[in-house]
Each structure stands twice: as C-alpha cells, then as structure tokens.
Subunit: 114 residues, 2 copies
C-alpha cells in the first residue's frame, strides 16, 4: 500500500487542497480526480505524492500533496493540458478548491518514539 | 528526525487544524504550541503524530495530526487541563483554529514507486 512521509529533513513544498463538494457527488468526484492524478499528474517531474482524504465531520475532501520544489509545482499549474483535465473534473462535479502552500517545520511523536 | 506516515492501510483519524495567526506572532505562537504538544498532548493515549507546517503563500500555519481513533481524539478534546493549556496559547497570541476530521483514502506516488 503506497504511503507518504511527512519529514522536515526532506525539504519539499506541501500543497493542501481543501475541496468543497456535495456529499452525493463526492465518490464520483474522487474516482475521477484520483484517476486523473495517476494518469497526468503523478508522472510530472518533481511530483512526490498526493494523499486523498474524505472529511468525516462535514461534506468535502482534502488532498495533501507534496512537490520537490516551487518550480516543480509551477510546472504542474502551468501545464495547460493537465490543468484542463483537472479543473474540468472540478467543474463537472461542481467542486471547488481552496489551495495553500506550506513547508513542514517538524513532526511530534509520542514520548520515546522520536 | 521524526516523521509521520500517511498510510491508508493503517486506519487512523486525521485532524487538520488550520491556524490563522498574524505573521509577527507566528514564530512565538509556534514555539509555545509545539512545546505544549510535546509536554501535554503527545503523551496522551492514542496520539500518533502532530506535524506543524508554516504557510508560505499567506500568513498562518497548519497542524496535520493523527489519532488512533475518534475516542482517542475525544480523550484529548475533553481533557480540561490540556485544553486549557492549548487554547490559552491560542488566546495569548490571538490565533484562531479551523478544525476538520478526515480519513485517509489513499496515496498516489510517481509511476513505478507504488
């Protein structure tokens, strides 16, 4: 099972995409967007990972994505064919994204595990 | 260097805390809140990890936290002494949190790595 690692010693750009989508459209949206990530986003240079989450206390979902650098992320956002595929899926399911860029400062673990 | 793993095969409750805090107060807030996490949150039963991020495209920061279960997370939120310590730090730095609960659906990696 693939997994992502949040690790401050491996600098990367974290991009958090908070997605508003109606509950009854969420599964179909997620199926489409996850296929698109596999087909056109994951092969791009500098892509590290995309972890999809389902919100459990409200409608909506989340993508915690990691890119090697700001430049790699811009290569994605400025790729017209990829953007058309991705944003077309958002439009088709009436989904809306809020996007923020972050850097990891550090991870806290239970005592004795760090 | 401690790191967190986002892994759909290890079910957990993901809690995303998006934090609004003025730029000039951010470092002091983070120092206080990260010390509190080490001292009073990380030792709680069912705590898995807390990963702090600094937002790079706007003010604010983020905590991507993982708990073993909803019950473990409630053990934290209903612990009056811990809540007083944590929310006291938010109040002291005029910081505000938006909190959402999530479950991990899966992670996408570059072709050949999954």
């Amino acid at each position: 099972m693939p997994s992502a690692r949040i690790d401050a010693s491996q600098p990367c750009l974290t991009v958090l995409i908070t997605i508003q989508v109606d509950d009854e459209r969420r599964e179909a949206f997620l199926e489409d967007i996850r296929r698109a990530v596999d087909e056109v986003v994951a092969p791009l240079p500098g892509f590290i990972s995309a972890s999809f989450h389902r919100r459990t206390d409200a409608p909506g979902c989340l993508n915690y994505a990691q890119w090697e650098s700001q430049e790699a992320y811009q290569g994605f956002t400025q790729n017209a064919a990829v953007a058309e595929r991705v944003w077309g899926i958002f439009a088709r399911h009436d989904a809306h994204a809020s996007i923020g860029s972050y850097e990891v400062l550090g991870t806290h673990l239970p005592p004795g595990q760090d």
